[in-house]
Every structure is written in C-alpha cells, then in structure tokens.
Symmetry: C2
Subunit: 395 residues, 2 copies
Amino acid sequence: DSERVILRVRELENELIKCKQKRCTAITRIEKMSAEVVDSNPYSRLMALKRMGIVEDYEKIRTFTVAVVGVGGVGSVTAEMLTRCGIGKLLLFDYDKVELANMNRLFFQPHQAGLSKVEAAEHTLRSINPDVQFEIHNYNITTMSNFAHFMDRISHGALEEGKAVDLVLCCVDNFEARMAINAACNELGQIWMESGVSENAVSGHIQLIIPGETACFACAPPLVVAANIDEKTLKREGVCAASLPTTMGVVAGILVQNVLKYLLKFGTVSHYLGYNAMQDFFPTMAMKANPTCDDPHCKKQQENYKVIDQAEQPKDVAKTPEELPAVHEDNDWGIELVSEQTDDELKAASGPVPDLPEGITVAYTIPGGENGASGETVEETEQSLEELMAKMRKM
Amino acid sequence: DSERVILRVRELENELIKCKQKRCTAITRIEKMSAEVVDSNPYSRLMALKRMGIVEDYEKIRTFTVAVVGVGGVGSVTAEMLTRCGIGKLLLFDYDKVELANMNRLFFQPHQAGLSKVEAAEHTLRSINPDVQFEIHNYNITTMSNFAHFMDRISHGALEEGKAVDLVLCCVDNFEARMAINAACNELGQIWMESGVSENAVSGHIQLIIPGETACFACAPPLVVAANIDEKTLKREGVCAASLPTTMGVVAGILVQNVLKYLLKFGTVSHYLGYNAMQDFFPTMAMKANPTCDDPHCKKQQENYKVIDQAEQPKDVAKTPEELPAVHEDNDWGIELVSEQTDDELKAASGPVPDLPEGITVAYTIPGGENGASGETVEETEQSLEELMAKMRKM
C-alpha cells in the first residue's frame, strides 16, 4: 500500500513538472542583441534590418522607453509588438479588467478574464520577452492624484530613472483620457502619438503630436475615426461600440511602425494617417498647431517652437519640460462629448467645417462653455484652422 | 512517515489542479451568437456591427470555412483574427516548427518552441474560441502526394463535409508554395487571397484572385512586396530575411478585413492593396486575367468566366470545379526565384516592365525554361499585360 502511495507521489511530481514546464518561459534574458542566424536567436530577423539597409542601429531599440496609455484592443497589441521588437522599457497604464467581451480583439485570452489588464498584459509580455522592463499602473489617469502621478512617471520613469520617456502612446477609448494625455504632454513638452478606432469598428487613425509644432488634441475639433465614446457609458444603456480585431490590429500596426520609424530614424513618420476599412483608403495629412488653442501650455510650446525653429536648432530641444505653472488641477477643458452625429448635424453644430483632405471629417464639435463666449471661440478656431490648412497645402 | 507521504500527495494533487486550471480554457462553447451586452459575452462587440449598420447578418460568419496556408508571421495572426471573429471552421496547413527566431512576430510564444506550428496554433486558438472547428495538416503542400491531399481538403473540407471551403488564404513565405496554391485554385475554380511581406520587412500586399476573372499568380510577373525568398534557403548562407511584427500585423489585418468584407458582404473588397511602411503609402490596383497565361486551368476558367459574364449569371458559379485533367503532376512551372534585384536589373532582365500604378513594381522576372521558347513567352506576357493595364485604366 505504501508502495502504491509512493508511486502516486512520483507520478504526481512528474505530472506537475511537465505542467509547469509548459507554462514557464523557455527563454532567458540576454545581455546583447545578436545578429547570428540560428533558430534559437529571437532577434535575428530584427537585426537583419541592418543588413538590409533599413535601420542603421537596431540595437538602439533597447535604450528607449515608451508609455502605453490604455491596454485594450489597440494598446495591448501595441505593447506586444514593442515587446517583441525588444524595446527597453514599457510603462502600461489602464484601470480596466479583462472581460470575455474583449475576446473579439487580439492579445487577451479567456483564462485571463477578471484579471486587471495591466497585470495580465505584463505576465504575458514578460513570458514573451524577458529582456523588456515593465512598469504597470492599474489606475485611471484622469483623476487628480493619478494624473499627477502619471505626469511624474512619464517625465521621470525612463529606463534611466529620472529621465522622461521617449514617447507616450495614447490607446484609450474615451475623450477625457485623450484630453488628459494632451494636457500632460503639452505641459511637459512630451512628444506623443494618438490612436483611435471608430465606434462602428471600420475606421481608425494615428496622429503624431509634437507640442508647439503640430496641432495638439485641443487645437482642432478632433478628427473622425476616433472612438470617443466611453464603452462604460454605452454599456449602461445595453448597447456597446462595435470592434474588430482586424481594424485594431491595423491601427496598432501602423502606430508601432511609426514608433519604430521615429525612434530608430528610418522612413517617414506620418503626422496623421487614417484607415477607412470599407474602402481600404488611407488618408494622410499634417496640421500645424493652432495659435488660438485653448490650452495655454500649447501656446507656450508654440512660442518656444518659433524661437527654436528660427534658430534652426535640432527639434529634440522641444522635449525639454516647460516651467509653466500646472493648470491641470482646474480640469475645466470645457469640452463635451457629442457622438453619432450625422454630417448635416456636424455642419450645423460647428459652423464652417474646416476644409479637410478627402476621407477625413470632423468627429466632434466643441460646444461652448457656460460663459457665453463659446460661439466666438468656435468661430475663431475654425477660422485659424482653415488658414492652417491653406498654409499646409502650400507646403 | 506514511502520514507525511499522504500529506505530500494531497499537496501535489492540489497544486496540479491549480496548475491545470490556469492552463485550461475558461470559456465554453455556445449554441447561438448573442448580441446581449454583458461582460461575459465574447460576441457583443461583433454583433454590434449589425446595430451600427455595417454588417447585415453577422451570425453568418459561423457558416464559413477558410483555409490558411502558412501559419507564420501573417498566417498565425490571420488565423487568430478569424478565430476571434467566430469563423465556422479553419483549415491550417504548415510543416514548420516554432523557433525562438519567430518571436519577433506576433502569436507564438517561447514555451512553444519545438512544437509544430499547426499544433501549437490549434492549441492556442481552441483556448481562445472553442466555437471554431479546426483541421490541421502538418505537411508541405508542394510535394506530389501532399498537393493531392491539399486539393482534396480545400475542395471537400468545409464545415459541411464534402463541400469546398469558402476561401483559401495564402500566407506562405516562398514562391513554390504560392504557385502550388495558384495551380490548385485555378484547377478548382476556388477564389483565394494572396498575401506577402517583402524580405526587408517594410512592405507587403494582399491580392484577391478570382480564377478566370482577375489575374492569377501565373498571369503576370509577381508584383513586388512579396517575400518570395524561402527562409530555409537564406538560413543556409547564415543570412535571413528581416521581419517585423508591425508589417506582419498590418498585412494580416488588411487581409482578414477583406475576408470579412467578402464573406459578410459589406464595404468594397480590394483586388490588390499594397503597404509601403517607409512612406505609409497604400497603392491599390486591379488586374484582369491574362489571356496568354501559362496555366491552362487559368485559360479554361477565363473561357468559363466570359460565358458566365455574358449570360450575366451570379459570379459564384465560377466556383464550380472544372473537369480539366490535372496538370499539377508535371510540376514544371518553369519559374525560378530571382531576388534582391535593383530596379535597373529588373528592367534589363524582364524587358519592357508593365506600366504599373505608383508604388507597385515587379518583384520577379520569369526566366525561360530549357525549351528555348522562353524569350517569346516573356515578351508575350509583357505585351498582353500592358494591354490589360490600359483596359483597366479605362474602367
């Protein structure tokens, strides 16, 4: 009898070892990226970019830090792509939990349902590439104290602690969080990229925002193809936004491709790239900062940019954090969410619609605050936008 | 002592249960897709496509069968997207094993290194969505006996056994496999989609091929942005093709988006859509079948198409398998791989290069066979291609 028990112990021990081996990472950290072409080298296909003449110094990827805000349909795939590319460090911000209702997008798996998105993501990403450093924050960046902490981490949380991250990626699904990232990056002079997918799941976009140089998120009425509806709001009414793994995958792909081009200095980084899935149409455009932008930090960055631009200094200098007093405590952006408008409603609500390139339309109007000056503000914004667009076309 | 052993047994049993639970699927099969907006419904975001007016009958997705040939950087993500969308059945074909060198692309994880790609993929995909049926084939479709089996499965392996699959997706990394799929689909009149990524990792494309109607893979010199180099060949010399998860993700995304548009009848299905990652440029074009195509099954399909087209019958009829004798036993496509050519070399080698839209160039020339008639054949092909392009522009 005791013999049978001992046999059972051995059996169980062996089974457990096998089970754990299957779950454990079969990969160890490396010191230096190798270009050696062997099946066991996870970087051979990336280092080949050097031999092919695409990227001059691929290893430099390990020195960069990127913050991903929102780890949903676009953010999770974005984080996975950067992880597989061997990015130095990733900061992940999200306050949501994984749900089975997320399974129609890539990355999360059913067994992770109930876990926080950042924790589940970190676990998967670490097992994919242990060479990447992760810092996760399971909170909503739009509350006062979290926003301050978020500002602190993007300005000090790089691989070399104390330094600012190289890029902030906005992969959130609501307007308020986008405006929070916009405010933070304007204040810090932090370059960032916006991304979004429409609530009908068939269009999306990415946008590069260089504070002071290109239009910030408050400079212009947000352009279409952004999912500016908070899913939580929709849920209450028993409806939800549609989403597709295809659209999300394409948007994450063009986003991270532009991140790689920006960080590793190859190709042309797009200022704005849209994706219309119904027609396979990809509109592009560029838009300068709006001199009458409501965000004082944006205006201040614009003044700095003019000085820098005239002195013909390298553009990196624009990244130096500004000494402006923080205004984010006010939290009064005065912008409300207006969704599912028809083209006619949009035109009626926003006055003259800016003359945008084919395939790009305004997603939201900026309704006036309660001070009555709103009509004017909208009018002014439209005016300067048109001027900017006209200038842009001449470029 | 025996008490300690019994305790140890219990301990191990508990640990094993926990370990297995973590690995097991937390999701069960469903009978009917629900549109209910609850966190536990994996289809709520997809069924919302109906409410949004994008897709008329999303549930129909469950009736379709798609074959994915090649489960690498593009094919694995393609299979995952279709699985998450709730496709009825997937047939996966590949003969490769997962290697750590694949970790720079999405989907496979380090702990799967050493497993066959189709087995590893099926395991992951089943745990993501148990509602999908899977059929995997761990073999190279280009050998004689496997090719016959491949033909049999795509013509009989649908959800309703005995019927043909609805679509074949080509996600392979070499020219020979593309030509095998082309030969099979021409013979069967099977509609398929081609996809490819360049060996420098910064361009890609998808192409819809309707036998007899649009240009098949043998109708024209393959267009650029196809990774027509077998990675195995490259490995031997200590070099390998570059690859990026971004480019692969974008190509898989636009591929599956067009699969969804084709199967669920919404939007416009692209005939050819390229992706130039350096410039974020997405060229599109359409090309009719070449009346002087080398593949006799293609010519036969073209005759059928003319008859059907004149009779204005629905195009689905073109899918009926043809009664032509099988020629695939010959295996003499007479096409060799010519890679890494400069534009000048291409022009010199292929004679007059067809007048293609901006951003699309010819990837390969078709060198002559040993029968001496090759020069003529190339000449003829170029000639008719130009005629076709001219006609296309008039459309």
